[in-house]
């Protein structure tokens, strides 16, 4: 699924940082998202307890994932939902294509689905003369402009109102340039209603799949998700295999965490619970419901105690909103379907470190993501793991799975530098010597390599002529 062109993260970062409009759009939008979340999770103790609950539920479900998936398949089948298994995105794409072909369908209406982005489904169908129409407002905007999403929850967040007005004006026939939100909404609504009428098959994602009852839970605010899952005669739901939960009781805490973290809502406008296709005597709903369960590297993550925690993610996107790096460069710079902190740990595991390992360097390990993650994924620790494995290293405690592209960054220079570093700080005489040399000659260090990077925006560090070791000795501070 990787594009042929090599991913140049540094160039993307530079480009994003130079785009002042983009930076101001993100700064404003993320500030708003943070405030909204804060209002819903106002009580720190209650929030902490809820996050612990969410974490426990996800850990329990992951610990018995194979059994839960089997149960989900059994229950769904009993309810009349057809379950398909896809190990790769190519398999998943072909499953969707086969269903479309069987119904002679050439138009798919889509609700929001990150898994469909992961599959690059739109492109796949387009190449086979099938039109995939995005109906989520944000997805609709960026599809018009031929762009990928820049955020997991709010895909067009990088666009401001005026930019949206311009896109509508340029890309939609006979549409005047208007900036008022109500008028823009009306334009979108009118266009989208027409699309729903034309859609032959509807597609959606899944937020939670309940094994106990065979229920697919889908949250949304626009009603387009409900349209996609009820208007066309056929509904296809796509999910990553980590979305299964054991029982209905598991849903309320996770739902509360998801909507609170994602959009700062107690609950979304729509919560859809789909348990079967149209039953005999019922007047509406699709006559066929399909569930496609995608692996795409997830079962490999499951096999490793540390990496498994990546699968706890409920795709709320709050780690993006709180990340000092994401808020400055936006989602496109990551060149991946999943941007931000979660993307830094998820993408290299899916695409391989050799292709996307550089994502893990874009973190100051400030812990902002970990502080807000509703299911308490230790994102910084897993970023460190990506860095370890990039160099072919692994701490003893995490040697279970080796990530694709393990060791791609391994090189003699850095290995020697860190061996030398360890020697300096392991051997007191070498430490003394180094500190003394730096105190004496540090100001004359040539501005190359790391020092060049450092001094691009800062002055050269000033090394003290006498170290704290020296001062402590002089002052008679006891050494033992």
């Amino acid at each position: 699924m990787a594009s042929k062109k090599k991913f140049d993260f540094a160039a993307h970062i530079q480009e994003a940082l130079n785009d002042s409009q983009l930076r101001s759009n993100f700064k404003f939008a993320m500030g708003t998202m943070i405030q909204k979340r804060k209002a819903v999770f106002a009580d720190p103790e209650e929030t902490a307890a809820l996050r612990r609950t969410g974490n426990a539920i996800k850990r329990r479900c992951l610990s018995r994932l194979p059994a839960l998936l089997e149960k989900l398949e059994k229950k769904c089948t009993e309810n009349g939902i057809v379950v398909h298994w896809a190990e790769t995105t190519a398999e998943a794409n072909n499953i969707v294509l086969d269903i479309m072909k069987r119904h002679d369908a050439t138009r798919l209406v889509k609700g929001k689905s990150m898994v469909s982005e992961e599959m690059h489904l739109n492109r796949f169908l387009e190449e086979r003369n099938i039109e995939a129409l995005e109906t989520d407002l944000g997805e609709f905007i960026i599809q018009l402009n031929n762009e990928p999403p820049s955020h997991i929850i709010v895909p067009a967040i990088h666009k401001n109102r005026k930019q949206v007005a311009q896109i509508f004006h340029e890309k939609l026939k006979d549409t005047p340039y208007v900036e008022e939100v109500e008028k823009l909404n009306a334009i979108a609504r009118k266009t989208l209603r027409e699309k729903f009428r034309m859609g032959q098959v509807g597609l959606s994602g899944v937020n939670f799949a309940v094994a106990e009852t065979g229920t697919l839970v889908l949250v949304e605010n626009e009603g387009n998700g409900r349209m996609c899952t009820t208007v066309p005669p056929v509904h296809i739901a796509l999910m990553g295999l980590e979305k299964v939960v054991e029982k209905l009781d598991d849903v309320p805490p996770l739902l509360r965490l998801l909507t609170g973290s994602a959009t700062g809502q107690i609950i979304t406008t729509y919560v859809n619970m789909i348990t079967s296709p149209r039953k005999k005597g019922e007047k509406d709903g699709p006559t066929e419901v399909h569930l496609v369960i995608l692996d795409n590297g997830r079962s490999k993550m499951l096999a490793d105690r540390q990496l498994r925690q990546t699968l706890q993610c409920i795709r709320c996107g709050t780690c993006l909103n709180h990340c000092p790096v994401y808020t400055r460069i936006g989602g496109h710079a990551y060149g991946s379907v999943y941007p931000g902190p979660i993307g830094k740990i998820l993408t290299p595991q899916i695409d391989g470190l050799d292709l996307k390992g550089s994502l893990a360097t874009a973190s100051s390990l400030c812990n902002a993501c970990q502080e807000v993650c509703p299911v308490m994924i230790p994102i910084p620790a897993i970023i460190r793991r990506m860095r370890d494995e990039s160099y072919g290293n692994c701490a003893d405690s995490h040697a279970e799975t080796i990530i694709k592209g393990h060791g791609f960054k391994k090189n003699i220079i850095e290995s020697i530098v860190w061996k030398g570093w360890a020697a300096v700080y392991r051997l007191p005489y070498l430490n003394r010597l180094t500190t003394r040399m730096l105190g004496r000659f540090g100001h004359r260090l040539p501005k190359v390599g790391p020092l060049k990077a450092w001094t691009s925006v800062r002055t050269t560090p000033k090394f003290a002529p006498k170290s704290l070791h020296d001062l402590a000795k002089e002052e008679g501070i006891r050494d033992e």
């Binding site: 970062i13 100051s364 400030c366 701490a395 392991r426 450092w454 002055t459 090394f463 402590a472 006891r478």
Partner: protein
Amino acid sequence: MSLYPDKLDTVYYFGTCLVDMAYPDAGMAGIKLLQQQGVQVIFPQEQSCCGQPAYNSGFPREAMEVALKQVQAFSARDCPVVVPSGSCAGMMKTHYPELFAGHPDYYDIKAFSDRIYELGDFLLNALGARYKDKGEPVKVTWHSSCHARTEMRVTEHAKALLRQLDNVELVELEHEHECCGFGGTFSIKQPELSGAMVQDKINDIVATGASRVITGDCGCMMNIAGAMEKQGIGVRAQHLAEFIWERIHG
């Protein structure tokens, strides 16, 4: 909360590598503040670095070698280890046990980690330090390192110490919780990103109108002060310990 040890007559001091090389006066100020509270301070000359640079850069084995050296250097006595840095303290307190999970010496490492305290927290809460300000009126702002805030959770303690000083007006940053962009090797592996982050931090600092920015972490300080100096901004950056020592001596 009885998070602090009962016996407080003697403490170890872990100065950190950055203080050792670049800010030894801040390190000495910390030692003196502890001594002033009637505590005997021991500074093992065998100490060096907490190991965080390698730990965060993909070299866990090198980090472990250096970490083990620290554990040995502070093993003679079972007394608190006080650290004038939230980030290095966080490394030793929360990350050593993660780094050594499953290691034969795990329990020794864990026992060492349990003895780690950040300086400001220790002065305020373990020793009950109360300071009388003898300095001229000054307006300052406070920068918290991310690890002081999220791992050691000592930000409020440091600010409480600053508020004890009568002539010091503390103006908080608008985005106090946001990273300054240091992140150790992050600052040299992603210089543009780091530069954008420190720029926003500087703008926030300047907007407070403070003449000094006080912090408990010399990594952040080197980043922020170095960037301000490069731009000719006249706000002085100072470590909490050095600032307090200066204020109480007029």
